[in-house]
Amino acid sequence: MSADPIVNISGLNKWYGEFHVLRDIDIEVNKGERIVICGPSGSGKSTLIRCINALEEFQEGKIVVDGIELGPNLKHVDAVRREVGMVFQSFNLFPHLTVLDNCTLAPIWVRNIPKKDAEETAMKFLERVKIPHQASKFPGQMSGGQQQRVAIARALTMNPKVMLFDEPTSALDPEMVKEVLDTMVDLAKEGMTMLVVTHEMGFAREVANRVVFMDAGQIIEANTPNEFFATPQHARTKLFLSQILR
């Protein structure tokens, strides 16, 4: 038990109408930790991730991010979102803005950074994801792998303390998956705190501190990757792994 949890979720319960989608979730994420969340479709992985970023409301429990508690207070919500970056499965780039503008928008309007500085920072991150020369293109003119890397760069420009990834590679061609995973591995190596929903078990093995397995809205099993893959405990986990790893 570390002394420094940056995300702390306790007793989280969420319903969609009458449907109990998250049940008694407790999880702590420490600074620098990298957590991979997996589980069958519909098990509530995305919902959990989205709760951390206040994209979804929840009915019971508590989420504290970097010392700020999420709740109906919009100020807190904004503060949390500023500290948390999110990368979506379907990229959600802004199609009407160039790649550079996509990356400078938030720093300029949220952090009130002068445009020039924002553009410099953005270029730095675009270099980091290896697409600086595409800065003046529109997202529609890029391949999926490139778009996903822009999305990562865009999240990074806000200098977040935590990065959330929601199946960042599942909409990509197999070849592009590699590009994106490479970028994420780099990021992990630099010590970024990350929560990643993914089924890329290679990635989990390589970078995760912990793998969390969810089913039916609850955490079934959590373990270090080595033990998780080698000796899954729960029957449900075993079944799942057998399918995924085929």
Partner: protein
């Protein structure tokens, strides 16, 4: 709870599903969470309340508290007689109500209007309620049978022939036009530089015309014979029935599978025969009420319903035309849309009234109401075309490709896949246009027709009722009527929008 922080965690007993916690509501809770939950909202609530106060209270005072409810002429609504500042003068509306609804429609015949309205409602309401069955039959009754019945009901008059005579008449008209065009070319060829060419073409056209005349001679001859008999309508009807049913039978698959088509064709004709008999169309029908006697709400409804029903197909056709790859059709659609969208409806109607007669054959007059209807349909059609085009643009290419890959032709792809989706996207815009149209009907006053607003204005000039509050009472009354109809459309469209977009939610 289990110690999650241990690097390893396994849940032994699954958490059972339980119902969502009940939110505490109630009236006060509602107020607190919705109206007074932030400083901005408190301010907004107060401002809205004040606004409501300053609009609702005077309205109620005018419409109810200070209103005069009974009387025989203006005297009742004068402050000096009533003893207080008079609000609405309702006896005036009472006296003018028949005119506001029927216009100058003769009193003895007004049951026909009522019957038509009841028929319309009886056919339309089930069509609007999604749960009710037999939509196909219902729709064809409303869109095809009802207009014909309504015409003979409202306008009156009978028929002197049926399918055969009409076909013969139409073909004859067409043929005459061809022959006369040929003659014009021939006469031009006397003066023109390319005379021989014109001469040849002209003669060719005339020849074709004459050939057609011979071809249709049996038909015209038969018609003339029929007109001679006393029962021309029924004989013609019988021939048409036999002919059409036979075609339906053959097209439906002949001896093997054609029986259904035959049965439904005969059923349709029997229904038509019953209508003809019932309304006495074969011998003159109901007494004619010329359209210049129509007025009031009747005209508003006739014009707007016709406009709404006809403008959508026109709009769809134009929108598809505007996206067609065939150059001439595209150019024509663009020109057509931009022209109709560009000119004010009132000038269109003016031209329809005073210029259209110039463009039609001398003895051929089109009724004023029909002219207005055509003008409004084309005008609104152009607007709808742009709305539909917006929806078409929102359909991803993949849908077309998927349909093509299944072997669907362009027409089927368009009508089964593209349009149903495109129209759903633009329901708010379509309804915008419908609502505009409903209110624009007052422009028909230019063709000497008084719709609701026109009748109202005409009634202002009756000295028997001229009082200070007459105009406001009239406007308030008309406002309420317009509001009821438009609000109904608006709400119903929201309902449809939600219903049709179920598939978009997931």
């Amino acid at each position: 709870m289990t110690d999650i922080m241990a690097s390893s965690f396994v849940r032994r007993d699954l958490v059972a599903e339980r119902p969502a916690p009940v939110k505490t509501t109630g009236f006060v809770g509602l107020l607190r969470t919705r109206l007074f939950n932030s400083p901005t909202n408190i301010l907004l609530t107060i401002v809205s309340a004040l606004l409501l106060w300053f609009t609702i209270i005077p309205s109620i005072r005018f419409l109810i508290v200070d209103a005069v409810w009974s009387g025989n002429d203006r005297g009742a609504c004068l402050a000096e007689n009533a003893g207080f500042t008079v609000g609405a003068c309702w006896p005036y509306i009472q006296a003018k109500l028949p005119q506001l609804i029927y216009g100058f429609y003769p009193e003895a015949e007004r049951w026909r209007v009522n019957l038509a309205l009841i028929l319309a409602a009886a056919l339309l309401l089930p069509l609007l309620i999604p749960r009710l069955p037999v939509k196909g039959l219902n729709a064809s009754l409303f869109f095809f049978a009802f207009p014909v019945v309504a015409f003979f009901l409202l306008h009156g008059g009978g028929i002197s022939g049926f399918g055969l005579s009409w076909t013969a008449g139409l073909l004859e008209l067409f043929d005459d036009s061809i022959v006369s065009a040929g003659h014009v070319l021939l006469s031009l060829s006397k003066t023109s530089a390319i005379a021989p060419l014109l001469w040849v073409v002209g003669n060719l056209i005339v020849l074709v015309g004459i050939a057609i005349r011979w071809l249709i001679y049996p038909l015209t001859w038969l018609r003339d014979q029929l007109q001679g008999t006393g029962q021309s309508v029924w004989v013609d009807f019988a021939i048409t029935t036999a002919f059409v049913s036979l075609i339906a039978f053959v097209l439906g698959g002949g001896i093997r599978t054609g029986w259904r088509a035959l049965a439904s064709s005969i059923a349709t004709f029997v229904a038509i025969a019953m209508v003809i008999k019932l309304m006495g169309l074969d011998h003159g029908g109901l007494p004619i009420v010329a359209t210049n006697l129509w007025g009031g709400l009747l005209v508003t409804l006739v014009v707007s319903v016709t406009g709404i029903v006809t403008s959508l197909p026109i709009g769809i056709a134009l929108a598809l035309g505007r996206r067609a790859s065939i150059p001439l059709i595209r150019i024509f659609s663009i020109a057509f849309i931009e022209f109709w969208r560009g000119v004010p409806l009132i000038t269109v109607l003016f031209f329809a009234t005073y210029m259209l007669p110039l463009f039609l054959p001398g003895n051929f007059t089109v009724d004023g109401l029909v002219r207005a209807l055509i003008g409004i349909a084309l005008f609104t059609g152009a607007y709808q075309a742009e709305n539909v085009r917006g929806g078409l643009a929102a359909i991803p290419r993949g849908q077309n490709e998927a349909a093509a890959a299944l072997g669907l032709s362009w027409w089927k792809t368009t009508s089964l896949i593209v349009l149903p989706q495109a129209l759903r996207h633009v329901i708010p815009n379509l309804v915008n246009s419908f609502i505009s149209l409903f209110k624009d009907t007052s422009l028909v006053s230019i063709v000497a027709l008084f719709d609701l607003l026109g009748s109202l204005r005409a009634s202002f000039s009756d000295p028997k009722w001229s009082t200070p509050s007459t105009a406001f009472t009239g406007f308030a009354f008309a406002g309420i009527i317009y509001f009821i109809f438009c609000f109904g459309m608006s709400r119903y469209s929201l309902f449809v929008e939600r219903r049709l977009n179920i598939h978009r939610r997931n």
